[in-house]
């Protein structure tokens, strides 16, 4: 169901203001979404004045600086800090991306940081991605081979291998799925760009023997065809992949297939 407004308990209030204590001449205001599960209060926006003279170049560096030097109660996920693990996916300046690969110099004015859109918030910038992982599981993202010999490798031509380029690099950070309005309104049924890109990755894998079954499984009004080529996914992907194109390719395969 399309619900444009946030529920009553999710309306965002103004929060605390943390004034700069370093006396720096290069200050940026950073607005961060906060919610503490141990209180009954609504989420709030805390504003931090951050000294940019002593801050490395990425948005994650700002968050680390806030947590280390200003407010240790801030919670967010991060791990590799090199755009490989996908933990620090969040909404930065109105667009989804990885905090560790987004330079803060690219954002004009105050920096707004929110959790990934339309997720149940666990705390502060941490969204609940359980639904997405369950959907990922539902497409059975592993090789299904009928070959009886399990001891020899399955050869793949260079051309067939090249088909996986642009699909296997996905780090499942969920930037694309949570940027998609269709996924916001129908996230319980529509698989979303991240999972469909992975579905595509297994459909085009020449070593997989379940291509038809995989296609049939995904051919569903809600699972697949809720994609209306809004392209928020492609513009959000921090790895430069193109989930929208992969979804279009699945639709094309289904349109030309005869089961």
């Amino acid at each position: 169901m399309v619900k444009l407004n946030l529920p009553e308990n999710s309306k965002v209030k103004r929060g605390n203001y943390f004034r700069d204590k370093t006396g720096s001449n290069n200050i940026r205001k950073v607005n961060v979404y906060r919610w503490n599960p141990s209180t009954k209060e609504n989420p709030r926006i805390d504003t931090y004045e951050v000294d940019m003279n002593n801050c490395p170049s990425k948005v994650l560096d700002i968050l680390n600086k806030i947590k280390n030097e200003i407010d240790p109660t801030l919670a967010y996920r991060r791990s590799c800090a090199h755009g490989v693990c996908g933990s620090c996916a969040m909404n930065i300046g109105g667009k989804n991306g990885l905090a560790c690969t987004t330079p803060h110099s690219e954002i004009d004015g105050d920096i707004d940081i929110y959790p990934l859109p339309h997720l149940k918030v666990k705390r502060d910038l941490i969204g609940d991605l359980d639904g997405l992982y369950k959907q990922y599981q539902s497409i059975e993202p592993w090789l299904k081979s009928n070959s009886k010999t399990e001891t020899t490798e399955i050869y793949q031509s260079k051309e067939d291998r090249a088909k996986l380029d642009g699909a296997y690099e996905c780090i499942m950070c969920a930037c694309c799925s949570t940027s998609c309005p269709s996924y916001w309104w129908n996230g319980d049924k529509y698989l979303g760009p991240a999972v469909l890109l992975q579905a595509y990755r297994w459909i085009v894998d020449s070593r997989d023997d379940e291509r038809k079954a995989r296609l049939k499984k995904v051919a569903d009004e809600l699972k697949l065809y809720r994609c209306h080529t809004i392209l928020n996914c492609t513009s959000a992907c921090p790895k430069g992949l193109n989930p929208a194109k992969a979804i279009a390719e699945i639709k094309k395969m289904l349109a030309t297939a005869n089961f």
């Binding site: 444009l4 999710s10 599960p37 909404n91 109105g94 859109p117 666990k122 392209l231 492609t234």
Partner: protein, 127 residues
């Protein structure tokens, strides 16, 4: 335990860009077009009933409001046609690069305005 986890903000904070704007406009113009077609059918029914009706409708359509509605519908049709062509190209698997989609989106937006003007001038038989 009651479910008290808040929902993170979505459409309130997400930045618009060309392709999302064209996509939502495509839906809105689609709804406008359904209303437009219904009204056009009604209009034909009304004017075919009597000469008085015909004169009254003519008077209305020549008023500022009437012209505004006609031009609005013309734009809505123009937008829908161009956007639908864009969708057809995308269904063939082309135009998914961010840059291309921005260009085609801009073509749809400005093209619809140009097409509206052309249709208006055609209707006025200036062309």
């Amino acid at each position: 335990m009651e479910n008290k986890e808040p929902l993170s903000p979505h459409i309130q904070i997400y930045k618009w860009h060309i392709s999302s704007l064209v996509s939502i406009s495509h839906r809105i113009t689609g709804i406008i077009n359904i209303i437009a077609i219904t009204l056009i059918c009604l209009w034909i029914c009304i004017i075919s009933l009597s000469e008085n009706n015909y004169d009254a409708m003519n008077l209305f359509l020549r008023s500022f409001l009437g012209k505004f509605i006609i031009l609005g519908f013309t734009w809505s049709f123009s937008f829908q046609i161009l956007s639908e062509l864009r969708h057809l190209i995308m269904d063939l698997g082309y135009g998914f690069q961010i840059k291309t989609s921005r260009i085609t989106g801009l073509i749809v937006i400005f093209g619809s305005i140009i097409l509206t003007v052309v249709l208006y001038l055609l209707g006025k038989s200036y062309i």
